[in-house]
Symmetry: C4
Subunit: 405 residues, 4 copies
């Protein structure tokens, strides 16, 4: 490289112009999840962005999740040897490189054509778990093929138990490590941004969307060039009208979700599934006990990212109650408002085995496909590592509540 | 419908243009009470809007009412069979389809020519109670004729007890189920927006109003085409100068309100009225006990929507105290800041039999007449139902304080 | 008046145009102290406005004063006979028509040529006390002549005790009822707005002031047409350089204020003054006890309107402590952030004998001279009366802490 | 001076124009640290400004530091003889004129060519301590020559203990009074503003910087006319690539900082250094005890100005815990969010021997070199003095927690 060209590139770099043309430079320049979030917002059509970002009704629980972590202060230990830090831990008996997992979230191909495949690949590369949503836009089998790390498969106790059994068997056959049963969707919460946007699965071309999104060329290029985005795992399920993705979505949301399911049916699932079972959507000590009594090896403290019951407490506010209730018998995970490594460390200090993130990996996926998800995981890894060092902690197992103010 | 026309309408629909010309589409597109509120604000001349929206002095109690509900978090139960949910309950012995009643609020014809008649019809259709204000702009008898559900009649202990007795007898004769005595108006609170707007009953045409309201054509059309808006129930009361609505308003507000009334007079009313008696405007355990000791079957915890004593506590903050004091002897209702189904469920969890709303049905009425009030009731019904399901509750009677954080 | 003219005036009235030309209509249209404040702000040159409005350093105590009253909620009693309300009370043995007094504040002629004379006249008309500041811009004797109600004379224990004795004797000779010793000015607090504005006594004509104030014609007309604004009570004091108001101001502020004064000297003043003695500027139980032990019949809980020690607590927050300490031996007054009748009633419920206001009467004076101060007093009287009625209280003596939440 | 010229200058003064051309007039017109901060912001290129102002990650600890002091209210004592106030105290046995010290902060020449020399001179003139940062842009020896007051030398336990020993010996040889060991940098916190700005040591000329800073002529003139800004104390350290300041910075930050240091090594330093030892970066009682057990005569409660661990508690919130733990055995200092004399007095009332400020002296230096630092110290001195007087305190030793609400 001649000096004058080098100088020119260096000038470009310093002035930020290089990022306009170089995706990797762009991703590296994103130094926090908030940066990735902003980039995703710019790339996504507004209805798609709001489908991911939005919550139920007034979105009070979305805000509460976030602010509750931020309000917790630390009690750091100084002059501790932290030269040799290790973020690894085990989740349900399997080693992971860091205590941060990808939470289940459906229809990832809405934000990027590579969808869940990209996320699974990035999670595997980073040495951590991806939990695949039942509502995935890629099949159980394709995701298993793309992944190199442990996978969880998330499901609901659908009205048609044969469908459930079929999904469970496919997950087992594909080598998924754990089953994650979501229990906070007896019905679907009201996400008012979606209603206002006329958000449909798949997104429709409308005058408004086109006007709004006219300059979001990369997204539309990917979207129009790909297959229809739909609930891939339900294609072929008996009774589903498979003539269109929209009809399939309605079938799944309206006809499969079963509000009559009770804790009595947990043993049935426990029998069906050979591996570890995790119950997701727990907010009280009572329900945590019921889950573990029913055979679960883990629970996820979650309010579904503030997307189900508006007025649900911050997960940060109830985590300690759940840990105290069943922490000696099962592993406790938590999601909701985790946006910084400091949040992950707070969760671990309270007693969580690991934290999970949903929207952050969607932002990464939207911003840069697999490389974007990898960037988000790298940001978390770096932040967790830094926070441990600054707290005087070398291994995540050393964290306990004495590190919180 | 030809394909091309269908396509065009579908395009219109998606772009929101259809709502400009179709009231029902407009109402369906309102998915929260806040949406209805915004629509009403656009339709009403500012002095009329502020007459409804405003509160006393600094309006601190209006804000406090609202924020106190929002600050309460839930403790949901998961994996409970909620397939078969039932919102019905009884109020004062009469079945209602849901625990949400229309609070008494006067002069509804200010916001829509159909006034209280429309609200009573909508409440009846929805299977719930309308409480008619003494200050109604439709007569006791006309409202009874329009209604199909239980009615309450709200009144004050006016200076002239013959007037009171006359109103009570008319309500009894018209089949009203309960009498609701308001006790928090020894004098009228200072609503500064009304004073600033020169708000009069009926509204006057002034340069300012015309400038402000020039494009609010539907409201003016309805207003000018209808009868004068006034306190219909007092037409013909002896001593009232009935030559104009303004004079009648002054007569009622200034000459009939009696600041000397005491609890000693409750038995007189109790004697006079054969049905259930409810005392509205209670904010302390002491007053709740006095009301029940005086013969009331129910009390409404209320600060008059923040329109009387500025600095009154949020009703959400004192509801438990009142329930604890008299909940075993009488039914407790609550109004003030109820804008979501989650708020209604919070009130019930604390121990209220039902919640009441005032401004929300005015916004519905302003936005769409009877259909607008029906839309508000439908929004509440849907939200209460959804909240119950997400809390793991099938019947409102199952709610108690263990569901609150 | 012909119909057409009447119609025109009525139209003017309704559209608010009349207020442009009619001061009394303008004052009546001000329905809260905040309205009067806004009017004053418009009329005053910015440096003069900020001289009155400002506080010490970050002004945190100014804000804290205000918000602390607003945060207190009431426990009203309903159905109490409040037909016959009486706001009168006694302060230091003298009857007043309402529990709201004018606090001492100097240099009132800065905001209106009639200065303290107008305020004293308005207070007398309203049947309440004016406390005249030592730093008055009208003499002790002139104010006494203008007043018809009880007067307090506020003073400091100046470095030169002969000056103090002289002022005390003049106050006694002029019939002042009580002496009010301010104890929170060992040195003058830093009011940064004044420093930034180059605020001087008297105000100087500068390029900036003229540009800012070019359209505030009424104020400049009054200011330039009147005598120089200065500390009238110190004219002729030996040692004062009386050649200009600015020099006199510097003399008073810098050379007379005595930071060495202690409680030991209170008995000397107690001896000197035959009437009741009030100590102003108390924020703790300890100091309140010292004041009463030293012979004071009353104390004023005050942080000097947030103008002295930035970081001083809200007076509302420490009033109860002072009442509990000496309320059985002396009368307790309070100022700071009182802007509504509800605030006055809160103070009385905690145990104050009366509340005092400083800035509000300055805003009234600026907005309309004596009529403006009278308007402020009338607003307070109406608001206190209304609040009593809505609390179920007929006499101020009935108020106690059971009326607060 | 002729009258007409005097009049013109007086007019200039009043209108603020004079400050445009006269630095001393400009500094005197800055009456609070916030004023100096604003002036510095205007003079500094944005990347340099943000290098000083910024904190770690979300900067929550920067905000928390500031708000925690502001939330503490005082309990003043009135009528105490405060005529003869004395701000002097001793720090580690050496008298200082006031309880406010300059905290260590590196690379001061970034904001002004005179750098740490100017600050040391100003601190000496004001009779207080300057703590020189290891990362100083002036040498230990040059600063000692410029100073007339006591100096502290701040250092880290670097990876290469010979370097540490060399620095300690140089500090001893130069007459530094105390050694201040910083313990909260096992690794460097993530300052996202610097990453975003591409902030390098020394600053690079880039298109963006030039565009942003084009009118900040004085700064660029000083910067370009001076020596390169670098870590002067490390020039010549073996192993450092001294061919450029940027390389030296990377060497220091990346290769010298040692995350393996433990409390076991404190005695080694204690042996090495003959004078008082202070440990800086303490936030808990446990670490404070470890420091004193290891031989420290003092600790600084500090979260590194919110620049290291985001989520660290406000220093104001943990100061009492540290004082209670070791206040009888060692002196306690505190920094973080101190911006007013009231904050210093709050810290002393809790039990600190003195407060320290970092950013404020950088703002002073940026705004006016040595005179700017002197102005900041003078503002603090005046504010502390005023606060003492208004609290009824003559000597700083009289302060205790009874003065806080």
């Amino acid at each position: 490289m001649s000096t004058s060209l080098g100088g020119l590139l260096s000038l470009l770099d310093a002035s930020g112009l290089r990022r306009l043309v170089d995706r990797d430079a762009r991703l590296v320049a994103m130094i926090s999840v908030d940066d990735v979030h902003r980039a995703a917002r710019l790339r996504l059509p507004r209805p798609v962005y709001e489908f991911v970002a939005g919550g139920a009704e007034t979105e009070s629980s979305v805000r509460r999740n976030r602010s509750a972590w931020g309000a917790m202060t630390f009690r750091p230990h100084t002059l501790v040897d932290v030269a040799d830090r290790d973020l690894s831990t085990t989740v349900l008996g399997r080693p992971v490189a860091m205590p941060l997992l990808l939470a289940p979230a459906g229809l990832a191909r809405l934000v990027h054509p590579d969808g869940e495949l990209a996320a699974a690949a990035a999670a595997g590369e980073a040495g951590t778990v991806m939990a695949l949503s039942t509502g995935s836009s890629c099949t159980i089998e394709d995701v298993a093929a793309a992944a190199s790390g442990p996978l969880w498969f998330q499901l609901y106790l659908w009205r048609d138990r044969d469908v459930v059994a079929g999904l469970v068997q496919r997950a087992a056959a594909s080598g998924y490590h754990a089953l994650c049963l979501t229990v906070d969707v007896p019905i679907v919460g009201q996400r008012e941004r979606d209603l206002r946007n006329g958000m449909t699965i798949p997104p429709r071309l409308t005058v408004r969307n086109l006007l709004d999104a006219s300059w979001r060329v990369p997204w539309w290029k990917g979207f129009l060039g790909g297959r229809e985005v739909t609930f891939e795992n339900f294609l072929g399920v008996e009774g589903a009208q498979n003539d269109s993705a929209a009809a399939l979505g309605a079938f799944v949301n309206k006809q499969m979700i079963d509000p009559s399911v009770t804790w009595d049916e947990l043993p049935w699932l426990r029998e069906l599934w050979p591996g570890p079972l995790v119950v997701k959507g727990i907010l009280t000590a009572e329900d945590a006990r019921r889950a573990v009594d029913g055979g679960a090896e883990g629970v996820v403290v979650s309010n579904h990212g503030g997307r189900q019951l508006d007025g649900a407490p911050a997960t940060a506010a109830v985590l300690a109650e759940v840990v105290d209730a069943i922490g000696d018998r099962a592993e406790v995970y938590v999601d909701g408002g985790i946006r910084r490594g400091t949040d992950v460390v707070r969760a671990l200090a309270i007693g969580a085995r690991a934290a999970m993130v949903g929207r952050p990996w969607f932002w990464g996926l939207a911003a840069g496909g697999e490389a974007g998800v990898a960037r988000v995981l790298e940001i978390f890894r770096t932040e967790i590592d830094r926070t441990l060092a600054l707290l005087g902690v070398s291994r995540v197992a050393e964290l306990d509540r004495s590190f919180l103010g």
